[in-house]
Protein backbone atom coordinates (compact mmCIF):
# COMPACT_ATOMS: atom_id res chain seq x y z
CA UNK A 1 0.00 0.00 0.00
CA UNK A 2 1.14 3.51 -0.72
CA UNK A 3 0.81 5.60 2.42
CA UNK A 4 1.38 9.19 3.39
CA UNK A 5 2.33 10.19 6.94
CA UNK A 6 3.35 13.55 8.34
CA UNK A 7 6.56 12.94 10.28
CA UNK A 8 8.33 15.92 11.85
CA UNK A 9 6.37 18.20 9.51
CA UNK A 10 7.57 16.38 6.41
CA UNK A 11 5.09 14.41 4.34
CA UNK A 12 6.60 10.96 3.93
CA UNK A 13 5.18 8.86 1.08
CA UNK A 14 6.26 5.22 0.95
CA UNK A 15 5.04 1.90 -0.37
CA UNK A 16 4.63 -0.45 2.62
CA UNK A 17 2.90 -3.67 3.58
CA UNK A 18 -0.05 -3.24 6.00
CA UNK A 19 1.83 -5.26 8.62
CA UNK A 20 4.61 -2.66 8.95
CA UNK A 21 4.42 -0.89 12.30
CA UNK A 22 4.82 2.85 12.64
CA UNK A 23 8.10 2.09 14.43
CA UNK A 24 9.55 0.20 11.46
CA UNK A 25 8.17 2.81 9.06
CA UNK A 26 10.01 5.56 10.93
CA UNK A 27 13.26 3.61 11.24
CA UNK A 28 13.43 1.71 7.94
CA UNK A 29 11.38 3.69 5.44
CA UNK A 30 12.00 7.23 6.66
CA UNK A 31 15.45 6.40 8.04
CA UNK A 32 15.12 8.17 11.38
CA UNK A 33 16.93 5.92 13.87
CA UNK A 34 16.34 7.99 17.01
CA UNK A 35 13.13 6.07 17.73
CA UNK A 36 14.35 2.86 19.33
CA UNK A 37 13.02 -0.66 18.93
CA UNK A 38 13.01 -2.31 22.34
CA UNK A 39 10.54 -5.08 23.08
CA UNK A 40 8.35 -4.49 19.99
CA UNK A 41 5.25 -5.55 21.88
CA UNK A 42 4.31 -2.55 23.98
CA UNK A 43 6.08 -3.18 27.26
CA UNK A 44 9.24 -1.06 27.31
CA UNK A 45 8.29 2.37 25.91
CA UNK A 46 11.57 2.85 23.99
CA UNK A 47 9.65 3.44 20.74
CA UNK A 48 7.44 6.25 22.13
CA UNK A 49 6.65 9.03 19.64
CA UNK A 50 4.20 11.92 19.70
CA UNK A 51 1.02 11.39 17.70
CA UNK A 52 -1.03 14.57 17.41
CA UNK A 53 0.82 15.83 20.50
CA UNK A 54 0.23 12.78 22.67
CA UNK A 55 2.74 10.07 23.59
CA UNK A 56 2.02 6.72 21.94
CA UNK A 57 3.99 3.54 21.33
CA UNK A 58 4.97 3.34 17.70
CA UNK A 59 5.33 -0.46 17.91
CA UNK A 60 1.62 -0.72 18.79
CA UNK A 61 0.41 1.31 15.84
CA UNK A 62 0.47 0.14 12.24
CA UNK A 63 1.89 2.62 9.76
CA UNK A 64 -1.34 2.34 7.73
CA UNK A 65 -3.35 3.37 10.81
CA UNK A 66 -1.36 6.60 11.11
CA UNK A 67 -2.40 8.05 7.75
CA UNK A 68 -3.67 11.54 8.56
CA UNK A 69 -1.93 11.80 11.93
CA UNK A 70 0.90 14.14 12.82
CA UNK A 71 3.93 12.32 14.18
CA UNK A 72 6.87 13.89 16.01
CA UNK A 73 9.97 11.80 16.73
CA UNK A 74 13.00 12.70 18.84
CA UNK A 75 14.60 14.22 15.72
CA UNK A 76 11.76 16.73 15.47
CA UNK A 77 11.34 17.47 19.14
CA UNK A 78 13.11 20.82 18.95
CA UNK A 79 10.25 22.34 17.00
CA UNK A 80 11.47 25.90 17.47
CA UNK A 81 14.74 25.25 15.72
CA UNK A 82 14.82 21.78 14.22
CA UNK A 83 17.56 22.54 11.68
CA UNK A 84 20.07 23.86 14.19
CA UNK A 85 20.81 20.54 15.87
CA UNK A 86 20.42 22.26 19.23
CA UNK A 87 18.79 20.48 22.12
CA UNK A 88 15.45 21.63 23.48
CA UNK A 89 14.86 22.42 27.14
CA UNK A 90 13.89 18.87 28.12
CA UNK A 91 16.87 17.33 26.29
CA UNK A 92 19.18 19.86 27.96
CA UNK A 93 17.78 19.00 31.38
CA UNK A 94 18.44 15.28 30.77
CA UNK A 95 22.11 16.12 30.02
CA UNK A 96 22.48 18.36 33.03
CA UNK A 97 20.86 16.02 35.55
CA UNK A 98 22.43 12.85 34.13
CA UNK A 99 19.00 11.54 33.14
CA UNK A 100 20.58 8.82 31.02
CA UNK A 101 23.39 6.33 30.93
CA UNK A 102 23.20 4.06 27.90
CA UNK A 103 20.57 6.26 26.26
CA UNK A 104 18.39 3.51 24.83
CA UNK A 105 15.22 4.59 26.67
CA UNK A 106 16.01 8.29 26.42
CA UNK A 107 14.17 9.26 23.24
CA UNK A 108 11.05 7.60 24.62
CA UNK A 109 11.48 9.26 28.00
CA UNK A 110 11.93 12.71 26.45
CA UNK A 111 8.86 12.42 24.23
CA UNK A 112 6.79 11.14 27.15
CA UNK A 113 8.02 14.11 29.21
CA UNK A 114 7.20 16.44 26.30
CA UNK A 115 3.60 15.15 26.24
CA UNK A 116 3.29 15.47 30.03
CA UNK A 117 4.70 19.01 30.27
CA UNK A 118 2.40 20.21 27.52
CA UNK A 119 -0.68 19.49 29.65
CA UNK A 120 0.81 19.80 33.13
CA UNK A 121 3.32 22.62 33.46
CA UNK A 122 4.18 22.03 37.12
CA UNK A 123 3.89 18.29 37.82
CA UNK A 124 4.72 16.74 41.18
CA UNK A 125 7.40 14.02 41.32
CA UNK A 126 4.57 11.52 41.74
CA UNK A 127 2.85 12.75 38.55
CA UNK A 128 6.14 12.51 36.65
CA UNK A 129 6.60 8.93 37.85
CA UNK A 130 3.04 8.10 36.78
CA UNK A 131 3.65 9.61 33.34
CA UNK A 132 6.85 7.62 32.73
CA UNK A 133 5.51 4.45 34.36
CA UNK A 134 5.29 2.79 30.95
CA UNK A 135 8.92 3.54 30.03
CA UNK A 136 11.53 1.10 31.28
CA UNK A 137 15.07 2.26 32.08
CA UNK A 138 17.58 -0.40 33.11
CA UNK A 139 20.43 1.99 34.02
CA UNK A 140 19.45 5.01 36.06
CA UNK A 141 16.98 3.77 38.65
CA UNK A 142 14.71 6.63 37.46
CA UNK A 143 15.72 9.16 40.12
CA UNK A 144 17.81 11.28 37.74
CA UNK A 145 15.17 10.97 35.04
CA UNK A 146 12.54 12.39 37.39
CA UNK A 147 15.07 15.09 38.42
CA UNK A 148 15.58 15.96 34.74
CA UNK A 149 11.88 16.29 34.02
CA UNK A 150 11.34 18.39 37.16
CA UNK A 151 14.18 20.71 36.09
CA UNK A 152 12.73 20.96 32.57
CA UNK A 153 9.28 21.75 33.99
CA UNK A 154 10.78 24.49 36.15
CA UNK A 155 12.67 26.02 33.22
CA UNK A 156 9.72 25.79 30.84
CA UNK A 157 7.44 27.55 33.31
CA UNK A 158 9.96 30.35 33.84
CA UNK A 159 10.73 30.73 30.14
CA UNK A 160 8.70 33.89 29.67
CA UNK A 161 9.51 35.62 32.95
CA UNK A 162 12.15 38.25 33.42
CA UNK A 163 15.46 36.86 34.77
CA UNK A 164 15.51 39.60 37.45
CA UNK A 165 12.51 38.12 39.22
CA UNK A 166 13.73 34.56 39.45
Amino acid sequence: MKIEININNNIEIHEVEPRVTLLDFIRDNVGLKGTHAGCEHGVCGACTVLMNGEAVRSCLVLAVQSMGDKIITIEGVNSEDSESGLLNIIQDAFCEKHGLQCGYCTSGMILTAEALLKVNTSPTREEVREAISGNICRCTGYVQIVDSIMLAADRLSKRNTSPDKS
Binding site: M1, E17, P18, R19, T21, D24, C39, E40, H41, G42, G45, T48, M51, E54, A55, V56, R57, C59, L60, V61, L62, V64, Q65, T112, A115, L116, E130, A131, S133, G134
Partner: protein, 288 residues
Protein backbone atom coordinates in the same frame (compact mmCIF):
# COMPACT_ATOMS: atom_id res chain seq x y z
CA UNK B 1 9.12 -9.56 16.21
CA UNK B 2 7.02 -8.80 13.12
CA UNK B 3 3.40 -9.67 12.35
CA UNK B 4 2.58 -12.18 9.62
CA UNK B 5 1.18 -10.58 6.43
CA UNK B 6 -2.46 -9.48 6.33
CA UNK B 7 -4.68 -7.18 4.30
CA UNK B 8 -6.01 -3.93 5.69
CA UNK B 9 -9.33 -2.15 5.19
CA UNK B 10 -10.58 1.11 6.62
CA UNK B 11 -14.39 1.18 6.19
CA UNK B 12 -16.42 4.28 7.05
CA UNK B 13 -19.76 2.67 7.87
CA UNK B 14 -20.95 -0.15 10.12
CA UNK B 15 -22.57 -1.86 7.09
CA UNK B 16 -19.22 -1.96 5.33
CA UNK B 17 -17.56 -3.41 8.45
CA UNK B 18 -20.20 -6.17 8.58
CA UNK B 19 -19.72 -6.86 4.87
CA UNK B 20 -16.00 -7.42 5.35
CA UNK B 21 -16.66 -9.62 8.39
CA UNK B 22 -19.19 -11.72 6.49
CA UNK B 23 -16.93 -12.21 3.48
CA UNK B 24 -13.74 -13.06 5.36
CA UNK B 25 -13.96 -15.74 8.02
CA UNK B 26 -10.37 -15.09 9.11
CA UNK B 27 -10.79 -11.35 9.63
CA UNK B 28 -10.38 -9.38 12.84
CA UNK B 29 -11.57 -5.95 13.89
CA UNK B 30 -8.80 -3.50 14.79
CA UNK B 31 -9.86 -0.83 17.29
CA UNK B 32 -7.05 0.75 19.34
CA UNK B 33 -4.78 -2.23 18.76
CA UNK B 34 -3.05 -2.03 22.13
CA UNK B 35 -3.71 -5.72 22.85
CA UNK B 36 -4.08 -6.93 19.26
CA UNK B 37 -0.77 -5.56 17.96
CA UNK B 38 1.35 -7.49 20.51
CA UNK B 39 -0.61 -10.64 19.63
CA UNK B 40 0.04 -10.05 15.94
CA UNK B 41 3.71 -9.31 16.58
CA UNK B 42 4.13 -12.48 18.60
CA UNK B 43 2.16 -14.28 15.87
CA UNK B 44 -0.32 -15.61 18.40
CA UNK B 45 -2.94 -14.25 16.03
CA UNK B 46 -2.73 -14.53 12.22
CA UNK B 47 -5.75 -12.92 10.59
CA UNK B 48 -5.87 -12.58 6.81
CA UNK B 49 -7.69 -9.24 7.07
CA UNK B 50 -7.69 -6.43 9.63
CA UNK B 51 -10.73 -4.16 9.59
CA UNK B 52 -9.78 -0.82 11.11
CA UNK B 53 -12.95 0.66 12.64
CA UNK B 54 -11.32 3.94 13.74
CA UNK B 55 -13.02 5.91 10.97
CA UNK B 56 -16.53 4.49 11.23
CA UNK B 57 -19.03 7.30 11.62
CA UNK B 58 -20.33 7.71 15.17
CA UNK B 59 -17.89 5.24 16.74
CA UNK B 60 -16.19 7.98 18.77
CA UNK B 61 -19.32 9.54 20.27
CA UNK B 62 -20.34 9.79 23.91
CA UNK B 63 -24.00 10.80 24.28
CA UNK B 64 -26.54 10.96 27.07
CA UNK B 65 -29.99 10.07 25.80
CA UNK B 66 -32.66 9.99 28.52
CA UNK B 67 -31.50 7.67 31.26
CA UNK B 68 -28.79 6.03 29.16
CA UNK B 69 -25.21 6.93 28.35
CA UNK B 70 -24.28 5.65 24.91
CA UNK B 71 -20.61 5.21 24.22
CA UNK B 72 -19.11 4.41 20.83
CA UNK B 73 -16.64 1.52 20.78
CA UNK B 74 -13.79 3.69 19.44
CA UNK B 75 -13.87 6.17 22.34
CA UNK B 76 -10.24 6.26 23.46
CA UNK B 77 -9.58 5.62 27.13
CA UNK B 78 -7.77 8.95 27.52
CA UNK B 79 -10.73 10.78 25.94
CA UNK B 80 -13.19 8.98 28.24
CA UNK B 81 -11.14 10.08 31.26
CA UNK B 82 -11.67 13.73 30.31
CA UNK B 83 -15.34 13.43 29.31
CA UNK B 84 -17.64 15.64 31.39
CA UNK B 85 -20.66 13.40 30.65
CA UNK B 86 -18.82 10.38 32.05
CA UNK B 87 -17.47 12.38 35.01
CA UNK B 88 -21.02 13.42 35.91
CA UNK B 89 -22.83 10.15 35.35
CA UNK B 90 -20.34 7.26 35.43
CA UNK B 91 -17.87 8.18 38.18
CA UNK B 92 -16.96 4.52 38.69
CA UNK B 93 -15.67 4.28 35.13
CA UNK B 94 -13.61 7.44 35.68
CA UNK B 95 -12.11 5.91 38.85
CA UNK B 96 -11.21 2.69 37.04
CA UNK B 97 -9.69 4.16 33.85
CA UNK B 98 -6.39 5.37 35.39
CA UNK B 99 -5.64 1.69 36.17
CA UNK B 100 -5.92 0.76 32.47
CA UNK B 101 -2.43 0.40 30.99
CA UNK B 102 -0.01 3.31 31.04
CA UNK B 103 -0.75 6.83 29.77
CA UNK B 104 0.54 6.15 26.19
CA UNK B 105 -1.59 2.98 26.05
CA UNK B 106 -4.73 4.91 27.05
CA UNK B 107 -4.15 7.43 24.26
CA UNK B 108 -4.71 4.64 21.72
CA UNK B 109 -6.69 2.04 23.67
CA UNK B 110 -10.47 2.09 23.32
CA UNK B 111 -13.45 1.17 25.50
CA UNK B 112 -14.93 -1.17 22.89
CA UNK B 113 -11.63 -2.88 22.17
CA UNK B 114 -11.03 -3.56 25.84
CA UNK B 115 -14.54 -5.00 26.29
CA UNK B 116 -14.32 -7.36 23.32
CA UNK B 117 -10.78 -8.39 24.25
CA UNK B 118 -12.28 -9.62 27.57
CA UNK B 119 -9.07 -9.95 29.51
CA UNK B 120 -10.03 -11.36 32.95
CA UNK B 121 -8.10 -8.53 34.62
CA UNK B 122 -9.55 -5.82 32.37
CA UNK B 123 -10.89 -2.85 34.32
CA UNK B 124 -13.43 -1.71 31.72
CA UNK B 125 -15.17 -5.13 31.49
CA UNK B 126 -15.38 -5.12 35.31
CA UNK B 127 -17.05 -1.71 35.39
CA UNK B 128 -19.44 -2.73 32.58
CA UNK B 129 -20.52 -5.80 34.53
CA UNK B 130 -20.84 -3.92 37.82
CA UNK B 131 -22.97 -1.13 36.35
CA UNK B 132 -25.15 -3.40 34.20
CA UNK B 133 -24.03 -2.13 30.80
CA UNK B 134 -25.64 -3.42 27.60
CA UNK B 135 -23.60 -4.18 24.47
CA UNK B 136 -25.16 -3.48 21.08
CA UNK B 137 -23.79 -5.77 18.41
CA UNK B 138 -24.47 -5.94 14.68
CA UNK B 139 -24.14 -9.37 13.12
CA UNK B 140 -24.92 -9.28 9.40
CA UNK B 141 -28.34 -7.63 9.29
CA UNK B 142 -29.23 -8.47 12.89
CA UNK B 143 -28.92 -6.13 15.83
CA UNK B 144 -28.27 -8.00 19.05
CA UNK B 145 -28.26 -6.69 22.61
CA UNK B 146 -26.25 -8.58 25.22
CA UNK B 147 -26.05 -7.73 28.92
CA UNK B 148 -22.46 -7.26 30.08
CA UNK B 149 -22.92 -9.96 32.70
CA UNK B 150 -23.99 -12.46 30.01
CA UNK B 151 -21.28 -11.38 27.57
CA UNK B 152 -18.15 -12.56 29.38
CA UNK B 153 -17.82 -16.36 29.41
CA UNK B 154 -14.18 -16.99 30.32
CA UNK B 155 -10.66 -15.65 29.85
CA UNK B 156 -10.70 -13.81 26.45
CA UNK B 157 -13.94 -15.63 25.73
CA UNK B 158 -17.20 -13.80 25.01
CA UNK B 159 -20.65 -14.28 23.56
CA UNK B 160 -19.64 -12.18 20.54
CA UNK B 161 -20.72 -13.86 17.26
CA UNK B 162 -17.75 -14.54 14.98
CA UNK B 163 -19.00 -12.05 12.39
CA UNK B 164 -20.32 -9.55 14.96
CA UNK B 165 -19.24 -5.96 15.54
CA UNK B 166 -19.81 -4.06 18.78
CA UNK B 167 -21.20 -0.66 17.73
CA UNK B 168 -22.56 0.84 20.96
CA UNK B 169 -22.16 0.40 24.70
CA UNK B 170 -25.06 1.60 26.87
CA UNK B 171 -24.72 2.36 30.56
CA UNK B 172 -27.84 3.06 32.64
CA UNK B 173 -27.84 6.37 34.53
CA UNK B 174 -28.57 6.00 38.24
CA UNK B 175 -32.05 7.24 39.19
CA UNK B 176 -30.96 8.08 42.73
CA UNK B 177 -29.66 11.42 43.86
CA UNK B 178 -26.36 10.34 45.34
CA UNK B 179 -23.79 7.88 43.99
CA UNK B 180 -20.68 6.78 45.83
CA UNK B 181 -18.09 4.55 44.25
CA UNK B 182 -14.73 2.96 44.82
CA UNK B 183 -12.22 1.05 42.70
CA UNK B 184 -9.12 -0.74 43.94
CA UNK B 185 -6.80 -3.32 42.48
CA UNK B 186 -3.47 -4.96 43.13
CA UNK B 187 -0.83 -5.85 40.53
CA UNK B 188 2.88 -6.58 40.61
CA UNK B 189 3.56 -3.09 39.29
CA UNK B 190 1.15 -0.28 38.61
CA UNK B 191 -0.94 -0.82 35.46
CA UNK B 192 0.19 -4.42 35.02
CA UNK B 193 -2.41 -7.17 34.84
CA UNK B 194 -4.27 -7.08 38.16
CA UNK B 195 -4.25 -10.13 40.45
CA UNK B 196 -7.51 -8.88 41.89
CA UNK B 197 -9.65 -5.81 41.32
CA UNK B 198 -12.88 -4.63 42.92
CA UNK B 199 -15.46 -2.08 41.81
CA UNK B 200 -18.20 -0.78 44.09
CA UNK B 201 -21.13 1.54 43.48
CA UNK B 202 -23.60 2.55 46.16
CA UNK B 203 -26.75 4.52 45.38
CA UNK B 204 -28.60 6.54 48.01
CA UNK B 205 -32.03 8.18 47.76
CA UNK B 206 -32.83 11.73 48.87
CA UNK B 207 -33.84 10.52 52.34
CA UNK B 208 -30.39 9.07 52.92
CA UNK B 209 -31.49 5.46 52.53
CA UNK B 210 -29.09 3.18 50.65
CA UNK B 211 -31.06 1.71 47.74
CA UNK B 212 -28.53 -0.40 45.86
CA UNK B 213 -25.09 -1.84 46.46
CA UNK B 214 -23.12 -3.26 43.52
CA UNK B 215 -19.87 -5.12 43.93
CA UNK B 216 -17.90 -6.44 40.98
CA UNK B 217 -14.76 -8.57 41.10
CA UNK B 218 -12.18 -8.90 38.35
CA UNK B 219 -8.69 -10.29 37.91
CA UNK B 220 -9.18 -13.00 40.52
CA UNK B 221 -11.75 -14.94 38.51
CA UNK B 222 -11.95 -16.28 34.94
CA UNK B 223 -14.08 -13.30 33.96
CA UNK B 224 -15.51 -10.27 35.80
CA UNK B 225 -18.50 -11.07 37.94
CA UNK B 226 -21.07 -9.26 40.05
CA UNK B 227 -21.25 -10.49 43.62
CA UNK B 228 -24.64 -10.35 45.32
CA UNK B 229 -24.43 -8.69 48.68
CA UNK B 230 -27.59 -9.36 50.64
CA UNK B 231 -28.65 -8.70 54.17
CA UNK B 232 -27.66 -5.05 54.35
CA UNK B 233 -31.21 -3.73 54.41
CA UNK B 234 -32.02 -4.80 57.93
CA UNK B 235 -29.11 -3.17 59.68
CA UNK B 236 -27.24 0.08 59.70
CA UNK B 237 -24.38 -0.38 57.27
CA UNK B 238 -20.87 -0.16 58.60
CA UNK B 239 -17.56 -1.44 57.31
CA UNK B 240 -17.37 -4.34 59.76
CA UNK B 241 -20.78 -5.61 58.66
CA UNK B 242 -19.83 -5.15 55.00
CA UNK B 243 -16.64 -7.12 55.43
CA UNK B 244 -18.66 -9.98 56.91
CA UNK B 245 -21.18 -9.80 54.07
CA UNK B 246 -18.40 -9.80 51.45
CA UNK B 247 -16.66 -12.82 53.02
CA UNK B 248 -19.99 -14.63 53.12
CA UNK B 249 -20.78 -13.79 49.49
CA UNK B 250 -17.37 -15.04 48.33
CA UNK B 251 -17.66 -18.41 50.09
CA UNK B 252 -18.69 -20.38 47.02
CA UNK B 253 -16.68 -18.49 44.42
CA UNK B 254 -13.76 -20.25 42.74
CA UNK B 255 -10.70 -18.02 42.68
CA UNK B 256 -7.96 -18.43 40.11
CA UNK B 257 -4.57 -19.61 41.34
CA UNK B 258 -1.48 -19.48 39.13
CA UNK B 259 2.24 -18.81 38.98
CA UNK B 260 1.70 -15.17 39.95
CA UNK B 261 -0.66 -15.50 42.91
CA UNK B 262 -2.37 -18.36 44.69
CA UNK B 263 -6.15 -18.68 44.90
CA UNK B 264 -6.14 -18.13 48.67
CA UNK B 265 -4.04 -14.98 48.30
CA UNK B 266 -6.40 -13.67 45.64
CA UNK B 267 -9.40 -14.34 47.85
CA UNK B 268 -7.84 -12.67 50.88
CA UNK B 269 -6.78 -9.63 48.93
CA UNK B 270 -10.17 -9.38 47.17
CA UNK B 271 -11.92 -9.07 50.55
CA UNK B 272 -9.48 -6.35 51.59
CA UNK B 273 -9.78 -4.44 48.29
CA UNK B 274 -13.58 -4.71 48.35
CA UNK B 275 -13.61 -3.28 51.89
CA UNK B 276 -11.48 -0.36 50.73
CA UNK B 277 -13.74 0.24 47.73
CA UNK B 278 -16.80 0.20 50.01
CA UNK B 279 -15.10 2.59 52.39
CA UNK B 280 -14.42 5.05 49.53
CA UNK B 281 -17.99 4.74 48.28
CA UNK B 282 -19.57 5.29 51.71
CA UNK B 283 -17.33 8.30 52.33
CA UNK B 284 -18.38 9.83 49.02
CA UNK B 285 -22.05 9.79 49.94
CA UNK B 286 -21.22 11.05 53.44
CA UNK B 287 -22.42 7.86 55.09
CA UNK B 288 -19.27 7.38 57.15
Amino acid sequence: MKPAPFNYERPKTLDAVCDFLAKNSNSLILAGGQSLLPMLSMRLSRPSLLIDVAHVKGFEEIKKIGNTINIGPMVRQSVALESSVLKNHLPLLIKALPFVGHPPIRVRGTLGGSLVQADPSGEIPLVAVTLGAVFHIRDGNDNIEILARDFFLGPMLTAMPSSGCLYKISFPVSKYSKIGCGFHEIASRKSDYAFASTAVQIEQNENGKIETISLGIGGALDYPQVINISGYNEKKINLKLLKELISEALLNIDFVGDFHASASYRKRVTIKLASRSFSDALKEIGYI
